[in-house]
Symmetry: C2
Subunit: 593 residues, 2 copies
């Protein structure tokens, strides 16, 4: 394992920079800056989820783990703690040997970000997350979108987004339950971020091995790879025998929040027999994962005995793995779910480590036919009740959502979630807007994801091209992440997020001026953009060509552009327009058709 190498180094045309918020010189927040060939254009600064791996000045080693940037902050909070023992593996897969101090909150103490927020205290994590949301711009530099038209309006959903995010705003959104900042006190390597409808839309990437494909090192690389391309959080859904070992390597090397479904490990511990599950095993798993540093838990506590018969007439029954395990357990012996019955104790454990609860939708629809049915909304109502319980315990909460939903029923999902769950952040899987395109479900779901993100969903769980067909490999992970980054960004644009449109404008200007290299480097996936261009026009000279393969060199659109510009100015009789137009980098660019 120690010899295993993950992908490092900056993205093409980008450099890592650090910037500190005005409140704290010692808090260094990372960003990515795209350097443009046209130096008269402003450098484009972008949100950066990739951690130290893209910083050529930081050397990383998996057995050492990432720098513990939160260590000093956490020490200041005086949690009860003990030195980590270093776990002994009973298999040939070792645990990550990176030093790890286990911390535990004490009852009555402020532990969670929600505790601090309610007490009016701004934490270092909130300052860090606020500065990320602003892309490290001070208030007077707040984004002013450029454009001629109506596209600037956006439609801000729910509480209005501010033009500038202060640490106090982050605090207040967390206090209101409208946002969470998932950050286990045992995950000091984490670069804090905030999830809520009034912030940038976030995306999650699922990784994880299974009994069929038991690779381990590959999963760590998938985590690094997913964050390289923009995953804001990663869920480790491993189900194999080495589930704990895999997770230790992931956590000590993860710059982003890590989520899990603890039920999977519990099932593993009882020999994969759902009926052998019990609260004690589950509790032990929670505590073990909590002390490893997992930042959020999917808990399927909304699958109650009474809901199960509601799925009997569905086309695709219960499709959530967690949901079906719990349903099986409930039906055997006709008993209420132990997750539901022990939910107070689950909250106590989560509070002790500041683990955010991600209330799972075990009864989500698995097909268009089953969307928005009684079973789904009965469970959602229960999740709303559990949200109140979690808040009572001082726990951060978000709510998981579907799944498979036709476009006309997506808005109802968002509205019902807001109503039942009192504005807790919504976290959806897609939804897929049709069932007929296996192999393309990253796309069927990106449609639904972009829409529900616009309507107010705070985080979108990616779907890869392999969904329904197999486990995603490294390429699928990248395709899933890029697809969801573009969906989340489309949602940010539609919501009128103040920083969103600058990126589009920078790329469009590069495109219009035939600055090919700038266009590639500003792209979400510069490698693919460059390689596609090179397929038709491979020569280096073509990178500065003032034409493209669509029209060819003979039809010079640049010349037409000059003429249009000059003539327009003459017609309008306003000479100062020339200068303004040039300032905007205005040139004529020609697409197909």
């Amino acid at each position: 394992m120690q010899d295993f190498i993950v992908t490092t180094g900056p993205l093409c045309g980008s450099r890592k920079i650090y910037s500190n918020p005005p409140e704290r010189a010692d808090i260094q927040v990372p960003f990515r800056e795209v350097m443009l060939a046209d130096e008269s254009q402003p450098v484009q600064r972008l949100y950066d989820t990739s951690g130290p791996y893209t910083d050529p000045n930081v050397s990383t080693a998996l057995d050492v783990g990432l720098p513990k940037i939160r260590e000093r902050w956490l020490e200041g909070r005086q949690f009860g703690h003990q030195q980590g023992q270093g776990e002994l593996s009973t298999s040939d897969i070792p645990f990550c040997p990176a030093p790890h101090t286990v911390r535990r909150g004490i009852k009555g103490q402020h532990v969670t970000q929600l505790d601090y927020a309610r007490a009016g205290i701004v934490t270092e994590e909130m300052i860090y997350a606020a500065w990320r949301e602003n892309l490290g711009r001070e208030r007077h530099q707040a984004a002013k979108p450029v454009g001629t038209a109506a596209s600037q309006r956006g439609q801000r959903v729910g509480a209005p987004m501010p033009d500038y995010v202060t640490p106090e705003y982050v605090r207040d959104e967390i206090a209101a339950g409208r946002a969470i900042l998932p950050a286990n006190i045992n995950h000091p390597e984490l670069e804090p971020m905030v999830i809520g409808r009034n912030f940038l839309v976030k995306i999650n990437a699922n990784i994880g091995n299974s009994a069929v494909t038991p690779g381990v090192a590959e999963e760590v690389e998938k985590m690094v790879w997913a964050t390289r391309w923009g995953a804001d959080t990663v869920m480790d859904l491993s189900t194999g025998r080495h589930i704990r070992q895999v997770r230790s390597w992931i956590l000590r090397n993860a710059p982003v929040p890590i989520g899990t479904v603890p039920l999977y490990e519990a099932l593993e511990r009882v020999g994969n027999d759902p009926l052998a599950l019990n609260w004690e095993v589950f509790r032990d798993v929670l505590i073990h994962q909590a002390e490893q540093g997992v930042d959020y838990f999917t808990i399927h506590a909304g699958v109650r005995l009474a809901h199960i018969p509601l799925t009997a007439e569905r086309v695709t029954g219960i499709v959530s793995r967690g949901g079906s395990i719990i349903a099986r357990w409930c039906l055997s012996g006709h008993r209420e779910s132990f997750l539901y019955e022990h939910f107070d104790e689950i909250c106590e454990i989560c509070h002790r480590y500041d683990i955010a609860l991600s209330l799972g939708d075990g009864l989500r629809p698995g097909s268009i036919a089953d969307a928005n049915d009684e079973a789904q909304f009965a469970e959602l109502k229960t999740l709303g009740e559990l949200t109140q319980v979690a808040w009572k315990h001082g726990c951060q909460v978000m709510i998981e959502g579907p799944g498979h939903v036709p476009m006309n029923l997506i808005h109802e999902n968002m509205e019902k979630q807001k109503e039942f769950c009192a504005d807790a952040p919504f976290y959806t899987l897609g939804p897929l807007t049709t069932d007929i395109a296996p192999g393309y479900d990253h796309i069927t779901s990106a449609i639904g994801a972009a829409m529900i993100g616009w309507f107010g969903t705070a985080m979108l769980c990616y779907v890869t091209p392999k969904e329904h067909l197999g486990l995603p490999d490294r390429d699928d992970v990248k395709t899933g992440v890029i697809t969801y980054k573009l969906a989340a960004h489309a949602a940010d644009l539609a919501k009128g997020h103040p920083t969103a449109q600058q990126h589009d404008n920078a790329l469009s200007r590069a495109r219009f001026a035939f600055r090919w290299e700038d266009q590639f480097n500003l792209a979400l996936d510069s490698e693919t953009a460059r390689s596609f261009h090179d397929e038709t026009m491979p020569r280096e000279a073509h990178k500065t060509a003032h034409f493209c393969s669509m029209c060819g060199p003979k039809f010079c659109s640049m010349k037409i552009s000059q003429d249009i510009q000059e003539e327009t100015v003459r017609l309008k009789g306003m000479e100062q327009k020339t200068e303004e137009f040039r300032k905007q980098g205005g040139e004529l660019y020609v697409e197909t058709v």
Copy 2:
């Protein structure tokens, strides 16, 4: 050329069938039927755009051309006509030698489908198109979607869609201008189809060589390939020296309507100098293409002199190739567009051959920043005026739309188009919902396309992964077509189209019952679905495995499913439910998470 082979043979797991509408035993309409492994399930019949190429009983040869299925119908209409001479090529690329009779309508005669519709006459083309829309089901078999829930509702936009499409309904929609049936009287090989908001959403695929990549045979294969995967129409946007020769091969071998932008050929004829363009050259091109059999023309007649200054402050100016050519021409000499000034004559020519007008949006936005601006809507208003002129001449019309539009501004595009253009069908390029993902613009645009299709757009012009970067190759064409098929289908579902959901339900049932082969064969792209599955579980036995790579064999979800089903029945105390559930093929299927 004659030796060039295109892709033929049925799609995997499918067979070609023909069905005649009750009105006419001699009209044979093709469909694709997916044969299921589970014979208790109904055969799934699908709309089929692929022409005779997927019929193993028809042998095709490019130099012979396709069977002329409309020949007898056209003969019955007694158009003036002359034998085609066979064109002489002045280059090394020959014209297609397939026999071709040139027909011309006579003034005062019913020529266009609109003429017939207004006169209350149902044409063979209308009968054919109606039967296609019904998927060959008689009224009493009209689709009844199955599902437990709200997904059945749909949201029917504009005039309500009927549950069953009669030839008279097609006629009335055409008469009202809400639909078009593009079918040049010189394209007898065409399999008629209808484009309008109250029918299935259609998709167009662009092909075409350029000065940089001058392949010819490849373009014919791209047309066949695009229709194989579901393209309802194809636009030939070739711009090279052999533009006329390429088109002759495409038309004689095209089962779908072919569209062009005649301005491209006109520019070619005047040595690629926009200023050398004039009405006479353009008119000659129209007539030549009309007699070859082009079914619809993109005409950028809405780019008026007065609109051009409105683009001066845009981030990306004028990005339509046609739009920039016309703008250049207008500005030189400060003159009104010859397309606008000669629009009556253009309509007269189009009427003579029944060529549908696709009024081009030369001033469409080329970036998020420019969406819904004054230039765009000024042009759209002009297109509305021209729609009235075209209708006065008895011409069929549709309206082209953007382009690049953030999600929050998409609905306004549809509403303004309906308002300005009196319900003429809308035909949009995407729109792309963000500019930051070159290489993934099939996805950025599928989001916008699905949404605007739901809102009432009748046809979606595909965007391939190569958009903005290069010319699409064969793989890109397939990716673009499949992506747009799924977007159009998502729109049909959201609109509540009566036949749409059956396909989703059939696939979901196969998925839930682990009928892997049925799931693959029901997929829009069965080859990709199968190959993705085989990457993780390649062995043949796994095709019938009651598990997948997500959970593996140890966790038997099927067993859980049985238990849930039986227990549910017991709890509900309704024994008859067992049978119903089994009838629905109910089994437990488990997704990831």
